[in-house]
């Protein structure tokens, strides 16, 4: 978002090559082409942003104004739209619910995946390799495959319409375990663990004081994916949660569409904007970090 953000070093450093001789005749033509490319890139950036811009502007305009056309000038109906929306749907509640679930999911997935990865990496036990390969195979299975069984299981356990089936399964996140095991095997040398044992530290203590801090960078990388994944999860809460006051933000969005609010376009736009803007603000500060995580995640595959 900020043009002065330092380019990702790992990616761009290799391109800061020493200047290569370029024939003078090609120089001017090159400049024209470059200018054209920048124009196209800027247009693309505008296209990427226009839907959000329309959303923000329309969120401040009244229903009648939106029906008559689109302008770039913000309207004056922001407060009115907000009141109309809040009459039917408490969007902040969905926000709170989503945040609660996503934070717990991220923490649980981070801690237990680190624990499991550590167990796989530094102990030898019977069936270790079989279990690890089995886990990798299950990693390929799409989430929808078990959806119906999962719903039935939750029904049997009496945990429908609670957050338990949305949160607890994150203790078992195969992909995070896989990623952390690869990471910890290359960064943490067994001799360090050995010397801690000689100093009399218990296994749990070693894990908590050496294992976790060593894995923290990789845990942080994975946490971004876990958080975004949980925050955006739609089908699971849609199937499992029935009470409107327990709805997560994505489900609440669907609810918004079917509610009275849909009659008032300004309020609709505002509701969507409220669900989108905090993410955009977070991205403004974290974009470099998030993008580097995507790069790291793809290369480690």
């Amino acid at each position: 978002m900020n043009s002065r953000v330092e380019p990702n070093k790992s990616i761009s450093a290799s391109w800061k090559a020493k200047p290569l001789p370029i024939p003078a005749s090609r120089n001017r033509k090159g400049k024209v082409i470059k200018g054209l490319i920048y124009t196209v890139l800027t247009l693309m950036a505008v296209v990427c942003f226009v839907p959000f811009l329309m959303m923000l502007i329309n969120a401040t305009r009244s229903n009648e104004a939106i029906l008559t056309g689109f302008t770039l000038v913000p309207g004056t109906s922001l407060l009115e739209n907000y009141r109309t929306m809040m009459e039917y749907v408490n969007i902040w509640n969905g926000f709170k619910n989503s945040l609660f679930i996503s934070v717990l999911v991220t923490v649980l997935s981070g801690y237990f995946s680190a624990l499991t990865a550590y167990g796989f990496a530094f102990y030898t036990f019977k069936g270790k390799n079989v279990l690890f390969v089995f886990m990798l195979v299950m990693m390929m299975v799409p989430g929808q495959l078990g959806l119906i069984g999962f719903y039935e299981l939750s029904k049997t356990l009496g945990i429908l319409d609670t957050y338990i089936p949305l949160i607890v399964p994150s203790i078992a996140s195969p992909f995070v375990v896989f990623f952390l095991r690869q990471y910890v095997q290359t960064t943490l040398h067994p001799s360090l663990i050995e010397s801690a044992r000689i100093d009399g530290a218990s296994e749990w203590r070693i894990f908590h004081t050496i294992g976790i801090p060593m894995m923290m960078p990789a845990v942080a990388t994975m946490s971004i994916f876990t958080f975004i994944g949980s925050w955006n999860n739609y089908i699971m809460p849609l199937v499992l949660i029935f009470s409107p006051e327990k709805y997560t933000l994505p489900v609440l969005m669907g609810f918004l569409k079917g509610s009275q609010v849909a009659q008032n376009l300004g309020s609709m736009y505002l509701g969507i904007a409220i669900s989108v803007v905090p993410i955009m603000i977070a991205f403004l500060f974290l974009s470099k970090y998030i993008i580097n995580s995507i790069s790291a995640g793809a290369i480690k595959e």
Partner: protein
């Protein structure tokens, strides 16, 4: 020294208990249901393979299969095309493009937004009469009459494809750039000195060396694409309108199970989808790595 390896079991135990209960058991239970006529209440009666037989002749499922492919295919071609062009531009040593971090961030932004918000937003932006998109396109003179985006099968599918492209090209661009950064710049310098043009550099160096990354993008995009649900669910009425053109396989699964209470049949749909995913992932994998082996053999 006492044997500490039993701790290995302690450390992985929480994972496996939760994994068995919440991942493996549901998958197995769904498998069992796929051979029954379970309807959500009462007991499940085993009906053999009849759900799978029905699946093969179910026009709704077959249509959903092709819809999913059409929507994903158009999106993927555009997404990977745009991402590759962008990557070629930003990795070109002669051009020395600036502002990569800025463009990367802004191109990636749509990917971060909750899909249901995106669906709702485009649902009203694409509205035929009052949608801001038609209004703006008409004001700018690109079209004379408003386009009824979401009420005609062809435009509805293209709309979903384009929204997906909008959401994902930035992500592919980032991943491709990450892949390119792993390629030694010596290759490019050598190519430059040998007088290779941009096209040759792209097709003879970048693309072959990017194969693993392109494979990664293709497989993850394919698996994600075959599971397309949020967008078609929320963009129109939730059962695939207009004319069933936005009915995707997962949307069909969802509606069969939770709208019509055909749990048994929906379970078979889930396994059908799984088999399709495995087959196509294997084809993609084979076609990309099979070629490589052939080439290696020729040398």
């Amino acid at each position: 020294m006492k044997n500490l390896n039993k701790y290995g079991y302690f450390f992985i135990a929480p994972f496996w208990i939760v994994f068995l209960v919440f991942s493996i058991y549901p998958v197995a239970l769904t498998f069992y249901y796929s051979f029954t006529n379970y309807s959500g209440t009462g007991s499940a009666v085993v009906v053999g393979l009849s759900n799978y037989k029905r699946l093969l002749t179910d026009n709704y499922f077959v249509d959903a299969f092709f819809n999913t492919w059409k929507i994903w295919g158009i999106n993927f071609a555009l997404q990977i095309g745009i991402a590759l062009i962008l990557a070629a531009i930003f990795s070109d040593m002669r051009m020395k493009m600036k502002g990569q971090a800025f463009f990367r961030a802004i191109f990636y932004l749509p990917n971060l937004i909750t899909v249901s918000s995106v669906a709702l937003l485009f649902g009203i932006l694409l509205d035929w009469q009052h949608g801001s998109l038609n209004v703006v396109l008409m004001n700018l003179g690109f079209i004379n009459d408003p386009i009824d985006w979401l009420n005609k099968p062809a435009t509805a599918q293209i709309s979903v494809s384009l929204i997906l492209t909008w959401m994902w090209f930035g992500h592919s661009f980032i991943v491709i750039m990450a892949g390119i950064s792993g390629i030694s710049k010596d290759y490019y310098e050598a190519a430059l000195i040998d007088g290779a043009n941009r096209w040759q550099t792209l097709t003879k160096i970048t693309l072959p060396l990017l194969k693993p990354i392109l494979l990664y993008i293709m497989i993850t995009s394919l698996i994600g694409g075959l599971q397309l649900f949020d967008l078609p669910m929320l963009l129109t009425d939730g059962i695939g309108s207009p004319d069933g053109s936005l009915n995707t396989m997962v949307l069909y699964l969802y509606n069969q199970a939770f709208k019509y209470n055909n749990y048994g049949y929906a379970s078979a749909v889930a396994y059908g989808l799984f088999i399709i995913t495995v087959i196509f992932s294997a084809i993609v994998f084979k076609s990309m790595y099979g070629n490589q082996r052939k080439q290696a053999g020729q040398v």
